[in-house]
Assembly symmetry: C2
Homo-oligomer: 233 residues x 2
Amino acid sequence: MDSELQDFYVHQDKMYVATDCIIFGFEDGKIKLLVFRRRVEPIKGEWSLIGSFVKIDEDVQEAAKRVLTEITGLKNVFMEELKTYGKADRDPGYRCISVGQYALIRINDYDKELVEKHGAHWYDIKDLPNLVLDHNQMVADAMERLKQKARYQPIGFELLPEKFTIPQLQQLYEAIYQKELDDRNFRKKVLSHNVLIKLEEKDKTTSKRGAFLYKFDHKTYNKLLKSGYNFEI
Amino acid sequence: MDSELQDFYVHQDKMYVATDCIIFGFEDGKIKLLVFRRRVEPIKGEWSLIGSFVKIDEDVQEAAKRVLTEITGLKNVFMEELKTYGKADRDPGYRCISVGQYALIRINDYDKELVEKHGAHWYDIKDLPNLVLDHNQMVADAMERLKQKARYQPIGFELLPEKFTIPQLQQLYEAIYQKELDDRNFRKKVLSHNVLIKLEEKDKTTSKRGAFLYKFDHKTYNKLLKSGYNFEI
DNA sequence: GATAATTAATGTATTTTATACATTAATTCT
DNA sequence: AGAATTAATGTATAAAATACATTAATTATC
């Protein structure tokens, strides 16, 4: 019996705490999810979210950050707790609760080598494979959260490059809401918040004319927040 | 050394999972919180949220329900996960993460004897004592959640009796938002959703004229939900 | 039994925001 | 030079939010 299979039988009476990361990206107008081949028995080798047990002297949040950095090489990524998955029978191997945390990353920022080394793959959110345990549920919950949260907080920008065009931003929101938006009204609404800085440069990768690039203005946004303003897209 | 103090030293290397309940009520126009005298060492006897370790074969959610029922005698109470408190040093006694769950109860429904037996007390949310560990933070987080959530989902009704008047409902929302609302506009908005059933009866406890009682119409609300409608107050 | 006092209920005008929709602008490719 | 393509702008209409004043029903008091 190998040591992992041994664990499988030994630890039925011990409580474990794990964390799993629901890692979202945005590419080609589509929301994508980073998935991995599961590294431990049982069901080793199946598609899975990336996760880890929380160490005895480690904050749960730290554990999630650790995992994310190990895999992507990125630090300072937007990450937020989703919810805790605490069904007694959710994992056939251990009594293990898992704190789901979703992350939003700029898809081209991460260290591709690191990711490939871990047998990772970016799946279109609309075309996911079966994931182990309750991981498909976690993804569904995270997607729902993203949908709700993106409307009232400017977290969508975490999925775009630092510099982006209005049509790109619109594409992103269309992907999140799964709904087409009117381009004239979208632009009007987005710009009305005065939290975008228009740059001199244009992006010409998607059109002959080119579209002006913008940056999100964190400074102004934070100021506005303090004076009781409400972001909404 | 008594057995609880012994536990205190023995279990430093074991991971525990607990759940704590943030129990809200509404009375006299005020949001109130149900707090207890802590039952275990260390800091036994201090004001605390009510909680419990999650048993090895018990769902986390079940554990929270169990606690709530033990204390209040109530079942089928609105309860929702808030977030997980997972700092490694949050509890000096154990390595223990706690899943915070907030509950909304009709303050007169619960079994008063049960509550008194447990040394409980309803505190005005604006006038809380110091609670053990990170429990004040849990309450602050739960209050913030309630504030956010009540706006877009009709959870406020969970804090009112089955039958309530519009002025009562307004008082509740004023307490949640911590802000005065215009009575004419409030009434208009609330009734515009068509999810309140006007009864024949009046409540005369607060005025000579009396105010008509209403019930929340769950059936209609659920129908509307399915057809993509958005509740907002 | 008229009047004062008190809270409930209703209505309207104004401002703001959301929606629906068509044209012009800049650039590259042929 | 003109066709093709995506970006950018504007306007009219509908809907929703806000601000604000009066009337209605009832009980308590003189």
